[in-house]
Symmetry: C2
Subunit: 317 residues, 2 copies
Amino acid sequence: MSERARIARLEAQLGGAAPGVRLGIGDDAAVLDPDLVWTVDAQVEGTHFDLRWVGWEDIGWRSFMAASSDLAAMGAAPVAALSSLVLAPSFDDDALDAFARGQAAAARAVGAPVVGGNLARGTETSITTTLLGRAAQPVLRSGARPGDGVWLAGAVGLAAAGLGLLMQDARVQDASIAMCLAAWRRPNALLAQGRALGGVASAAIDVSDGLGHDAAQLAEASEVALVLDARLLAALSPAALVAAARRLGRAALDLALEGGEDYALLATSASALPGFTRIGVVEPFAGSRLFIEDEEGKKPHVARGFDHFPVLEDAVL
Amino acid sequence: MSERARIARLEAQLGGAAPGVRLGIGDDAAVLDPDLVWTVDAQVEGTHFDLRWVGWEDIGWRSFMAASSDLAAMGAAPVAALSSLVLAPSFDDDALDAFARGQAAAARAVGAPVVGGNLARGTETSITTTLLGRAAQPVLRSGARPGDGVWLAGAVGLAAAGLGLLMQDARVQDASIAMCLAAWRRPNALLAQGRALGGVASAAIDVSDGLGHDAAQLAEASEVALVLDARLLAALSPAALVAAARRLGRAALDLALEGGEDYALLATSASALPGFTRIGVVEPFAGSRLFIEDEEGKKPHVARGFDHFPVLEDAVL
């Protein structure tokens, strides 16, 4: 059963209207009365990170930012976090210190302190971060309307390029490589851009599983199709992505569409969104959720999602 | 480094006052303005449960109740939950259905729907449940004063007896065994009793790691000592506990003090607490945090915590 099917099964058992619940299973975060936005994210050793390529301080940072990005996509301001750790026997005191430093730094950057959590023993280490935020006007995945523009904040593809370079044992040789490695190791949730969405954007999603995959998710939730313009995406590509793509033997557009863990934001809006760049348009649904348009025309695109690594069949409920 | 030391280390990095945070790391749950009470709990296969002795439906129920019990101890009413699952390859579709049935039943019983979550792949299955609740007057661990009574709601020792019987391959032969097995497999968070604590109890804690261990925790947080009366505990012991203790070759008092996963509530109060029974008294700290008193007098007691199983060195931040 696919992750999508599993979520549908869980929703059938667990979902349904309830007093005080404005939005349940199926978006980047849940929304509770009066203005609470709430998310949880897990990072599992061997699935989401590998200690050959990242240290515990960066893991602390990344795990916090991954959860924060869900709030950014809802247009919410983070309030506080709980951090639940399942620790393998190899997780020693130095690892704990480094991890805590990374989480503390991310919590300060985001403005949401860690106010509690849980420690448990296991055979593999995993970090589950839950964040509460507030949004007067939460932005859902489901409001995109034909005619809206498609807008992007943040670079896409750089993090996947960074991971690819790490897996090729690239050392930091130049600014391009350094930028890609930093994008993967130290992503930043785009909270300021997210807060600008409330009351303006018709829909939004955070780009964590690849732009193509997440654009199709937004399109499905909104029952529309998204058309992304390859020429605009190419024009947006940082030189570091172009350089990394060459080194990795991949197309920059492919990295931009299929690379995950960017924590960029994708939104739809009838009017301009500050901090975002327009990359496409919303159309009525006609067989495919996602199209890529270039000088040769408009073609349906089936996103593979991010799978460079033994990674990322995970999904938000 | 002990779990306690690890929490202190995390608190040094992550703790500290922050706007909107009424209570951070160090209690059963965090408290945020204006009245939010928030907890997270993890249950890890091989650490907290073993599929030889429990099925996925019960695991769904237990994991939800374990988190709910933290809210009960704060005097909070649950509002909603997020459920984050790390799933091993062996976790199949039938397991998912059974797990979801168990969580849905617990969510209904508690009155807090699952409004979202996360699915991720791993090599061992773990379930992290985060619950939000509300309490006008949250009850902390730290308010016990000398002279207060010590009060208990719920049976202690039955769940550990149930696990011990399962590990001895006991089948359900009589009502006593059935009661112990049910106590371990299907615990109930004592939410109604918890809600009666607000504005009355001086301190409270949920009894999940053994009455002795958790009583000492409350005493330490309150900078007092607790004296528990063994005769009152014996008088409270259900016949099922006495019968199970005999079968397990243990003293019933030992099971009551050291057995974990009861999800009973321990509170201190100057006046009577509805739904609770008085089992001791709060005294000023004088060298030991916990004493057991019987006809031979009062002796310091060092709680071992719950460790029958490869279990439960976990801790709440």
